[in-house]
């Protein structure tokens, strides 16, 4: 744990001070919306790049670091290893919470953090600011992804954008008809697929219910599914408690979901594009869609651990994963929009960037990126307190009953 309790205390004190309305003494840049609640501990970014350490330890989402072992054609790690001499060791995590915990062990050098993990990592001092001038490919990243509330604090960058996408609705084409176009099929208590519905086993899934409520119950006034006051939160939790009745099983291990869809135990539920790809490769008759209500999604950031033992290799990896070719490969494999503008010319499918709306900000306005809920409402309301992540976690246990 080292000096973390002191840092935590400092963060808590500053958060309190900021919440009480006092201005931050060092606040020069305008704080990003919703994250004015804290000042990260002071950690220096790497000043210059040295020789590689020979290896790098990564925490990543499934499908982000592929060396050909899943599919011989899917490999953007081997070339990195041979050109930099950095051996890549990957630990796959199933949820953002798992990522935060893995990074706290201090064993890993870099992480592909989603928005519901990145701020927690920054606030805890687990990750260091990233010196983007040491990452040549950063220049080609879409400007719409740079300096966002989930990857920067006070104008200081804490990572490089990896890519973005939406959580999708997947169904078995032979068991579900007509083809669904709404999340209603997984929330309706009278769903004909009772007992064969799946949901993501993480507190962040409460936001999926909130997205559905935004469309079906506008009177609740939900503007941001991660900023839920008491009434809105109760409505979302009630919806999920009701949903439990039609759930067959919850998933967080993606292999379990693939197997359940393949066997037909699960016929409809939330998923990622990469899971659909793997299920299709396994000959499971599945299809995915972005439902009309919109969806939750992710905009991931590669971050470097503050206590990285292999910082040089970590920087080399950050530069590699956002390089046009590798970024195009990972985006196609995972089924997401790349972060590097030049990647769109490198994809095997020339229409990939259009299919995944890489430059379509309009489309992404319907996608609510995973964000950590905090007491200061992220939608800018100041007259109410929103439910923070600890309460989301507790509610999740209650939902599962």
């Amino acid at each position: 744990m080292r000096s973390t309790p002191r840092i935590a205390a400092a963060v808590a004190a500053l958060a309190l001070a900021a919440a009480c309305g006092s201005t931050e003494p060092t606040g020069t840049a305008a704080p990003a919306p919703g994250v004015s609640g804290f000042t990260p501990p002071k950690i220096e970014a790497l000043a210059s790049l040295g020789a590689g350490e020979g290896q790098v330890n990564l925490v990543a989402w499934a499908g982000y670091v592929e060396d050909g072992s899943t599919d011989p054609k899917v490999d953007w790690v081997s070339e990195f290893e041979s050109s930099t001499g950095c051996q890549v060791n990957t630990k796959t995590a199933g949820t953002s919470d798992e990522m935060v915990n893995l990074m706290k062990t201090g064993e890993y050098d870099a992480v592909s953090a989603s928005g519901d993990a990145s701020l927690r990592l920054i606030a805890a001092g687990t990750v260091a600011p990233v010196n983007t001038s040491l990452i040549p490919n950063y220049a080609d990243v879409f400007s719409g992804l740079k300096d966002k509330p989930w990857n920067s604090v006070g104008g200081v960058s804490y990572g490089v954008p990896h890519g973005r996408g939406a959580n999708l609705l997947m169904w078995r084409t032979d068991k579900v008809s007509p083809a669904p176009d709404s999340w209603g099929v997984v929330f309706d208590p009278a769903s004909p697929y009772k007992g064969s519905v799946t949901a993501y086993d993480s507190p962040i899934y409460i936001a999926d219910a909130a997205v559905y409520l935004m469309a079906t119950k506008p009177e609740l006034g939900i503007k941001n599914p991660y900023a839920l006051d008491d009434k809105q939160f109760t409505a979302a939790v009630d919806l999920l408690k009701q949903q439990r009745g039609i759930i067959g099983e919850y998933w967080s291990d993606y292999t379990k979901e693939i197997q359940a869809f393949k066997a037909g135990d699960t016929v409809v539920g939330t998923t990622w594009q990469v899971i659909a790809n793997l299920a299709l490769a396994d000959k499971a008759p599945v299809e995915v869609t972005l439902p009309k209500e919109g969806a939750t999604g992710w905009s991931d950031t590669w971050m470097v651990a503050a206590a990285a033992k292999n910082p040089n290799c970590a920087y080399k990896w950050l530069d590699w994963i956002i390089s046009p070719k590798a970024n195009a490969q990972v985006a196609e494999w995972f089924g997401e929009a790349p972060s590097n503008a030049k990647s769109c010319a490198e994809t095997a499918d020339p229409k990939h960037c259009d299919t995944f709306h890489a430059t379509d900000e309009e489309y992404f306005s319907k996608v609510y990126y995973w964000t950590t809920p905090i007491p200061q409402c992220l939608d800018g309301r100041t007259d109410v307190t929103c439910k923070d992540y600890a309460e989301w976690t507790r509610a999740w246990t209650e939902i599962k009953g």
Partner: protein, 277 residues
């Protein structure tokens, strides 16, 4: 030198004993009780909800949440029910099997039967649990689907050897002459079982039930694999460490099975079963 040391140890029995005992006692004290103590201490701390870092100040909050939260009571009772059901099923299956092994089989067959009971223990726990997932899948051979029933079934399968072996050992020590005597005195099968076999093997049954009960109470993987949407105490502990990063609350929850097991052990002790082991 060696001789003198030997003489010294021979004369001072106390020193000899303490030297012999120090290694196991250190293990028991540091690794076993130490870990439990650390658990108990952690349960009184809290975490910073945003950063997830430990806050080392004393608080009862975790236990308050645990006691007042209805959901935790439900989960604790459900886990208790699962553990009891697994123990009961294992007992019903294991007793006749152990009896056949100890009293009916030839010595040669006995050896093979013990090996047969032990073989499932050589396979990985996960492999066996996933095998049941495939069996129970709606398209599988059994096709009963997942849920609490599937969990009980799988756990009963997993822990069955731990019930058979103690009962088998207990029955082996039961002299055949007692069974013959009961028969000579006119007792039929059931009466012999009730008045002779059961009282004498009860300590062995209690020992087996401690295994099956405690193993079921702490399990969280099987229920994740075949439990469908259900969760047990183990899952709450796991989710609070793995997902919520709330180690103090997980520690508080983890004291529940510890307390249940203490009560269970005390109950077993009252029956006198522990003295006869």
């Amino acid at each position: 030198m060696r001789r003198r040391l030997a003489t010294f140890l021979h004369r001072h029995a106390g020193v000899r004993l303490s030297l012999l005992l120090s290694a196991p006692m250190a293990w028991l004290g540091l690794a076993y009780l130490g870990a439990l103590a650390a658990l108990l201490v952690t349960a009184f701390w809290s975490t910073d909800t945003f950063t997830g870092n430990l806050v080392r100040t004393f608080t009862w909050a975790n236990f308050e949440d645990l006691v007042t939260g209805e959901v935790y009571r439900t989960i604790a009772l459900r886990s208790l029910g699962v553990a009891a059901a697994v123990t009961l099923i294992d007992l019903v299956v294991a007793f006749p099997m152990a009896f056949a092994m100890a009293k009916l089989a030839s010595p040669r067959a006995q050896r093979w039967l013990v090996i047969a009971v032990l073989t499932p223990l050589w396979a990985s726990y996960l492999v066996k649990a996933y095998a049941w997932r495939v069996l129970l899948s709606t398209g599988g051979i059994l096709g009963w689907g997942y849920g609490l029933g599937a969990t009980v079934l799988t756990l009963s399968y997993l822990w069955l050897p731990y019930m058979i072996l103690p009962i088998y050992a207990g029955l082996e020590r039961l002299p055949n002459s007692l069974l013959d005597a009961a028969g000579d005195l006119g007792a039929r099968g059931w009466r012999t079982f009730r008045t002779v076999v059961w009282p004498l093997t009860f300590p062995a049954v209690a020992a087996g039930s401690i295994f099956t009960f405690s193993l079921s109470l702490g399990d969280y993987i099987t229920v994740k694999i075949v439990g469908g949407r259900s969760q047990l105490i183990g899952n709450v502990v796991y989710d609070n460490i793995g997902a919520a990063n709330n180690l103090p609350f997980a520690a508080a929850v983890a004291t529940v099975p510890v307390v249940i097991m203490l009560v269970y052990l005390a109950a077993v002790r009252r029956t006198g079963a522990l003295e006869n082991l």
